[in-house]
Amino acid sequence: MKQPYTPRANSNRKFVGGYRPRIDAWEKARGKVEYVDDITTKSRFPDLLYAKVVRSPYAHARIKKIDVSRAEQLPGVITVMTYQDPEFTSLKPTNAGWTDGVDTVSYDRKMWADFNDRLVLGDYACWVNDEVGAVVAAESEEIADEAIRLIDIEWEVYPFVLDPIEAMKQGAPLVHPEITQNNVLPPEKMGGEDVFLDKGDVDAGFSEADVVIEDTSIHHNATQASLDNWCCLVDWTDEKLTLYSNSFEADQSRMHISQMLDLPLHKVKVVSSYVGGQFGRGDTGDQPFFLFTAMLSKKTGHPVKFKHTRHESFHDSRQPAIYYGKVGAKKDGTITSLYFKSIGNTGAYTDHSIFALKFAPLEIAEVSFAPIPNVKLESYAVYTNKLPACMMRGVGNSQFNLIWAHLIDLLAEKLDMDPIDLCIKNFGHEWETLPDKSLTEVLKQGAEKIGWNEKRNSTPGQGPTYGRTMKRGVGFSLHPAWHAEWQEVRRGHIPVSITLNADCTVILDAPTVETGTGSNTCNVLGCAEALSFLGITTEDIHWNHVVNTETSLKDCVQTDSAVAYLQSEVIVTVAKEIKKQILERAEPVLKAKSKELDIVDGRIFVRKNLNQGISVKELLFQGDLVPIVAMTSRLVNAEKTGVPYFANFAEVEVDTDTGKVNVLHLVVLNDCGTVMFASGAEAQQVGGQVMGLGEALTEEIIYDEITGVPLNFNFIDYKIPTMADMPEIDPILLEIWKGAGEYGACGIGEGTLTCTPRAILNAIYNAIGVRINDIPIKPEKVLRALGKA
């Protein structure tokens, strides 16, 4: 029997933290919610045209000659535009740095400003499928597809490189020679130098250590695989441009379009309805298709829809990284020195490689490695001719965790210590003394739930054998959260408004693109809690699910797993303003000053004379029935509160004859600070394991090394775990740490899968006594490690 979580003592919450369905559960279960593909059908836009773009068949090539005459003559084709058209040659080069995932920036202030390596439509292709050369608008998708096939292109084909180590060698094909002459991205201001952290003296730290361990790990090119393929509709048939998209941000898209197309902001309208999962895919700027679709709309005078097929939606991926790590420690387990060096396969465009390789590890070091005197971090992002790597759920952290928790396991074994004790002894955060309460508790509870002491083989590989060939083992991994409120200061102001209607119902404008994370329900619960003096329930609150940049406030970008609590904290402030306004309105009616009044359960009363009162509803129904409206836009609270920890524990069974790994049990532990919405948080914990287990065991993009062609851009050969593949999962929510503010919650969504691969890998080692550090762990790798293949 599964147990509900235990809320912090004396929390006394009426709504926040509860187990309940999502606010959109019924509409979603009935298939009533509309995604962008549903609201951009021909029946709604009768003069709709469909766009398609040429995709490079080569990993590295330039268009020498293009002839679109056969395509133009195809009946049903309305226009063909090429990279040579002035509409495209006049556009500035761009990149994905229009956002660091959280704030809205201008062209000049975008990140990776030194690496403007993308053109909206150019002649240069640097991976197979690169969108280049020409775009078509036609009456149907089939005609548009056929027109693309009729475009005659003469390519100048160049040698290509897929492997980052090869790409760094002298003489390797250069992917963006205008940016780098050795494919390594030069240092820039956001990520810093190649050695981007050098605290103390690591060499001295290793010299004074009794034990020094080193090893490598390899994380691969997984993909987000949202079922909601990239799709947009642009209507730029008059001076105003309207974009419907399934991007996870609206305000950033508006700024991106405004700046790239030189349109005033009030002439750009972005509408975002429900999104069918995003998982970090893409960022503003790595989606030039908004812009070429806009050009087609302007030229044809029709609304134009551009939609990726599933194959084409393999458009973003996790940053693959080869990590080398070295750790030195005293005999008693005190770590004296830590060194990590990574080589990242950036793929064809910079996108957010540096965010994954430098920014994320720096955040981890700032907190977890604070107690360690000597720490050095070094990284190289390397261009290759592969699918670009960008943000993916747990950006940078998943890759770093794969090496970090590996070193922990190795070092503990060498010191003959329990790795749990080693973690408690060494890792914490800068603002607290060791041992860290949050870290200790997640590991203690995880160990108990998985059966750490009973199931762990004291000698790896030497446990009992099950069913002739099966070996079992347990492992864990831990990580600091990176979504406390102070870590989100880059977001700047967060606006929220509450409208209290005359009948005491509420319209909550806490805009964010609804991608499934559950933040919408968190906000409604937070709002009900903050307005509980009105005696209302969640049913009395309407949350606007469509973000429309003309009528909504600025959306809180659906990244960093942080929206749920960031907006809820602002809601608390707005609710206080609502209360103030109600009391002011009550002053003449109750003939008392508002400071003499209070509201409980929907009734306003004079504190000194409880009988003298009026219900809020009665008050609001007097006079002009004008709703009470309050809006606040406030900065994120920068108070440094440290971070909580999370961890995953795994039990696996490995078939030593076939090499197949079966995960038997996963325990997922998150210290949330405050649980905002228990069912939603557990859904994130349980749900994240599909991606985590997939990345660990089955998901992998495979390339033909001879041609550079990706071979499995489909859901048949890119293996996402299904219901039958998933083990029993125990989600455990904790409230140990607390951040700033009323709730002091912390995002958990991304962290739920960060530790999964390494927990499984450490369990595999415990089962078979051989380490494999190159995910995904396919059966052939297991057999090779066992010396059987």
């Binding site: 559960a25 279960a29 009935r30 059908t41 695989a225 999962g277 048949i716 989600p731």
Partner: protein, 182 residues
């Protein structure tokens, strides 16, 4: 099974080029070539021509289950069936389910501690709901293994499989309870 509702327009005299499909209880007539081309998939017909956008097309090659509808009582992938193949058959889409359908209710209500919700972004949900509907019509009291087998053709990238499995079990109980009441 789709319910044949009263007042349905039964078409007895179909021209040779005519295609008729019963959708959510109503017969629809189509003319070959004009309304339905030889290569048109059932999912395209339902979504783009008739506006049944509850079903989703994601992989468009039978690998994700998002486009699942019920044809003659069996769950089928509407992206893998040509529209002409549905001639003379009965199709139920998610729009054809009652608001208080026990499967819909169970998917919406799932919040039993320890399993998470049965849906998050919701894009795969209509497919899961339709397969569950077909499963429970045929096997009202499935074991957990049977549920996993029946639903393993669906991808939920948000990963709500545990919540979905609980929802299917609860739907099964709801159906059994309804049966007891009647």
């Amino acid at each position: 099974m789709p319910k044949s509702s009263k007042g349905t327009q039964e078409i007895y005299a179909t021209p040779p080029s005519g295609i008729k499909i019963k959708i959510n209880g109503c017969w629809h007539n189509f003319e070959a070539e004009r309304d339905i081309t030889p290569t048109m998939t059932l999912s395209y017909l339902l979504r783009e021509k008739l506006g049944y956008t509850g079903l989703k097309v994601s992989c468009d090659e039978g690998a994700c289950g998002a486009c699942t509808v019920i044809m003659d009582g069996k769950p089928v992938l509407s992206c893998m069936i040509l529209a002409v193949e549905a001639n003379g058959h009965e199709i139920t889409t998610i729009e054809g389910l009652q608001k208080d359908d026990p499967v819909v209710e169970a998917f919406a209500e799932q919040c039993e501690p320890g399993y998470g919700t049965a849906l998050q972004c919701g894009i795969c949900t209509p497919g899961f709901v339709m397969s569950t509907k077909a499963l429970l019509d045929e096997n009202p009291l499935p074991t957990m293994d049977e549920v996993k087998e029946a639903l393993s053709g669906h991808i939920c990238r948000c990963g709500c499989y545990a919540g979905i499995a609980q929802a299917v079990m609860h739907a099964s109980e709801k159906i059994a309870n309804k049966g007891d009441e009647s």
